[in-house]
């Protein structure tokens, strides 16, 4: 379903790293896992990804800061999906305000994850350049 998709996962919890990367692998995607937003933005500068799964709370640079950096400093429109442990509306809105494209709650659901990734990468492909 996600064969060949290159997904960057920014997540500092080792258990969530394992769960997310295994799920992506089973779905056919290639994942790169980093434990902080500061590393994620460096990789976005140097490598091509189809989408980022971004945890919101990381030690040095959190998901909000990393996304704002990607949007405003790197000027990249790469799809960013927030991985949230809550479903609070104010958190969702804060994600969207930071420039994220969608928010999904942990623990991850394979179907929801796939649908979100396909939808956002398809939208990106049809937008005029």
């Amino acid at each position: 379903m996600l064969t060949g998709y290159k997904i960057l996962v920014a997540e500092d919890n080792p258990l969530n790293q394992k769960v997310t990367s295994f799920l992506l692998q089973k779905l056919g995607a290639i994942s790169t896992v980093v434990a902080d937003g500061s590393i994620a933005v460096k990789l976005v500068e140097s490598d091509e990804f189809d989408l980022i799964l971004m945890d919101l709370h990381m030690p040095e640079m959190d998901g909000y800061e990393a996304t704002e950096y990607i949007r405003k400093t790197l000027n990249r429109d790469l799809p960013v999906v927030a991985l949230s442990a809550t479903s609070f509306e104010e958190e969702k809105q804060r994600c969207l305000d930071a420039g994220m494209n969608a928010c999904i709650t942990k623990p991850l659901d394979a179907e929801k994850l796939t649908e979100t990734i396909l939808r956002l990468t398809k939208e990106k492909k049809v937008l005029p350049g």
């Binding site: 080792p14 394992k18 769960v19 442990a85 942990k106």
Partner: protein, 123 residues
Amino acid sequence: MFTNPPLLDLSYLFEISFGDPQYVYDVLSLFVETFPPGLANLEKLIRETDDFDAIHKQAHTLKSSASIIRIRNVFDDITRIDMLSRSKTGKEEIIARLDNVIFNFNKALPLIQAERGRNRPHP
């Protein structure tokens, strides 16, 4: 009719394992390695400090793990600790919730270890 949830619910883990016992073993091992020190740190922060920001951050990290390995009421109690510490209030309730988490975690740990043993890879 009210029914008590099971002490340990690994249904989500089994669902996402795609039938791979090595993966189940690895995830349970990671949980056993990371959750207890995180819980010990949370306990220290709650009992010895009023650093609500640090309590919130530690609770938030544990909440993610608790959503994967589901021990009775632990996810709900940690979520409540997370919420209260974000609003810097409810220290008494935070302590009560912490006691629940520790109690239920200690009860569930032998079951987690047993399941981990069942999925241990054979040489």
